[in-house]
């Protein structure tokens, strides 16, 4: 009975948390008209997010591209087909690895810091102070953060796609005997579309990044806004923010891939 009760309570807590995040997202979307008013803060947030996450994202993306090329290249070499290595690396980076890597790094660096900032404000009464001044914490604190990550996540993803492909090209040349020109021609083939400026893979990857950015910022701010009980509460908020963001990145990534490649052909 105790196990039953505690499991039920845990499920209810999760449902309540999910409801809070959804409500926060709806309220954030509802306050989009305030974006011009928060322009300066938004630019600060976007700049900070970019600066904080850029070096790590680039290093990780370069190595991810290199690993991808190495692992794929080993198998392709057995079949004597390393000519398509550029295509495979480029598509994998743009479709999956780039958005995923960028989002996880943003969740760990920027999302955690958002949860800590908002959580500290919550436990030190700064959020209450905003409320009593009739300043809506959603459009004052959450909106700029969500927009900043919605812009920065695709931007960093585009950069990490490029750096990842570059990392792959180095390995292709050094370890697999694929020349730079051959690798980049193959990658270029994959990233050119006759119908659109770029192929579907790039757009789907950037869409994923946009959704991930919004999800990370919303989940992190929600965790901060629900923080209670001083430093311990802020620590828990950061933990929740990173954990929930990573889970959401994986689940949303799956849903978007499924939608564009299986449901919609």
């Amino acid at each position: 009975m105790n196990l039953f009760t505690s499991t039920g309570a845990a499920i209810l807590r999760r449902v309540d948390d999910a409801g809070f995040v959804l409500d926060l997202l709806v309220r954030t979307v509802g306050s989009l008209q305030k974006v011009p008013r928060r322009k300066r803060f938004l630019l600060d947030m976007a700049f900070n997010a970019g600066v904080r996450a850029l070096p790590v994202t680039m290093v990780v993306a370069a190595f991810a591209g290199a690993i991808l090329a190495m692992q794929t290249g080993i198998e392709l070499k057995r079949f004597g087909d390393t000519g398509v290595l550029g295509t495979i690396t480029a598509l994998s980076m743009c479709r999956e690895m780039g958005p995923f890597i960028t989002a996880v790094i943003l969740a760990a660096t920027v999302g955690s810091s958002m949860a800590a900032e908002v959580g500290t404000m919550k436990v030190s009464d700064e959020i209450s102070a905003l409320e009593v001044m009739s300043v809506d914490p959603v459009n004052y604190l959450v909106l700029p953060r969500v927009i900043a990550l919605a812009v920065m996540c695709p931007t960093l993803t585009a950069l990490s796609d490029l750096i990842g492909i570059f990392g792959g090209s180095i390995i292709a040349q050094q370890n697999l005997g694929v020349s730079q020109s051959r690798f980049w021609m193959s990658a270029q083939d994959a990233l050119t579309s006759s119908a659109m400026l770029l192929p579907k893979e790039v757009y789907v990857g950037l869409l994923k990044a946009l959704v991930f950015g919004i999800a990370i910022a919303t989940v992190s701010c929600a965790a901060g806004l629900r923080a209670t009980g001083g430093a311990l509460g802020v620590g828990l908020a950061v933990q929740n923010a990173v954990r929930n963001s990573v889970i959401l990145i994986i689940v949303l990534g799956f849903i978007i891939t499924w939608f564009f490649y299986f449901l919609n052909g």
Binding site: M121, S124, D125, E126, S128, A129, L130, E131, V132, M133, S134, V135
Partner: protein, 242 residues
């Protein structure tokens, strides 16, 4: 006028307020005292509409606060200032920006008019010299004075003070008390002050109520309370207190 009648509030498993009633007349400072954890700050949060009572009535100028919609609540809050225990300043804004925030968000004043008003209240709380500083680099007393300036900048009719001298030395506390009294006398602002301090209660208050077990246990004018034989009044306002 602020009026609370038979207000009950449970937070978690604890009954915080249990039939609390009090009345703050216009132009007076009402001091709410009582042991820690008896619901003094919770009472303030009901008046400003951050918390809703489980039962009972909370009225400001005859308007029922718990039933107000968002717009009405915002309008009420624009007529009220709230001084938090630690000032609750926004850390990434300077003192000046913190004080200007409510005006920038809600008033139609020009930038220069806002600046003039901000400098006026900063001078009043003797913080004009620190306007460029950020909250983490100023003392607790300065944070409180900045918080008071922010509460006053919109020219509110009411100010709620949540432990305005908590953690301050006697000299700074005395300055804060003088400021609170000045706000009432010079600006005609009605105040509700939550404090444990005898000095604060006697220097700033017109009436004092002491809360215990979720309701006002004893109440009266400052003179009546200081002379009272009630054990709670003696504990909080007797010679050995503070």
């Amino acid at each position: 006028m602020i009026e609370l009648r038979d207000v009950c509030k449970r937070l978690g498993s604890r009954q915080i307020l249990d039939g609390l009633s009090l009345r703050v007349e216009k132009g007076m400072n009402y001091v709410l005292m009582g042991p820690s954890g008896t619901g003094k700050s919770v009472t303030l949060r009901h008046i400003i509409g951050i918390l809703k009572p489980d039962s009972g009535s909370v009225r400001v100028d005859g308007q029922e606060v718990p039933t107000m919609d968002r717009e009405q609540l915002m309008a009420l809050r624009r007529r009220m200032g709230y001084l938090f225990q630690n000032g609750a300043l926004i850390n990434w804004l300077t003192v000046e920006q913190n004080v200007a925030l409510p005006l920038e968000e809600h008033s139609s004043l020009s930038r220069s008019a806002i600046q003039d008003r901000v400098h006026e209240v900063l001078r009043m709380v003797a913080l004009d010299h620190a306007k460029e500083q950020f909250p983490p680099s100023i003392s607790g007393g300065m944070k409180l004075r900045a918080g008071l300036a922010r509460a006053l900048v919109t020219q509110p009719e009411y100010v709620l003070y949540d432990e305005p001298n908590a953690g301050l030395d006697p000299i700074i506390s005395h300055q804060i008390h003088q400021l609170i009294a000045e706000v009432r006398d010079r600006l005609g602002v009605t105040g509700l002050i939550v404090t444990h301090s005898r000095a604060c209660a006697t220097q700033c208050g017109d009436r004092i109520g002491i809360i215990q077990n979720g309701k006002i246990e004893v109440e009266g004018t400052v003179a009546e309370m200081v002379a009272s034989e009630h054990p709670l009044a003696k504990a909080f306002l007797g010679g050995g207190s503070d």
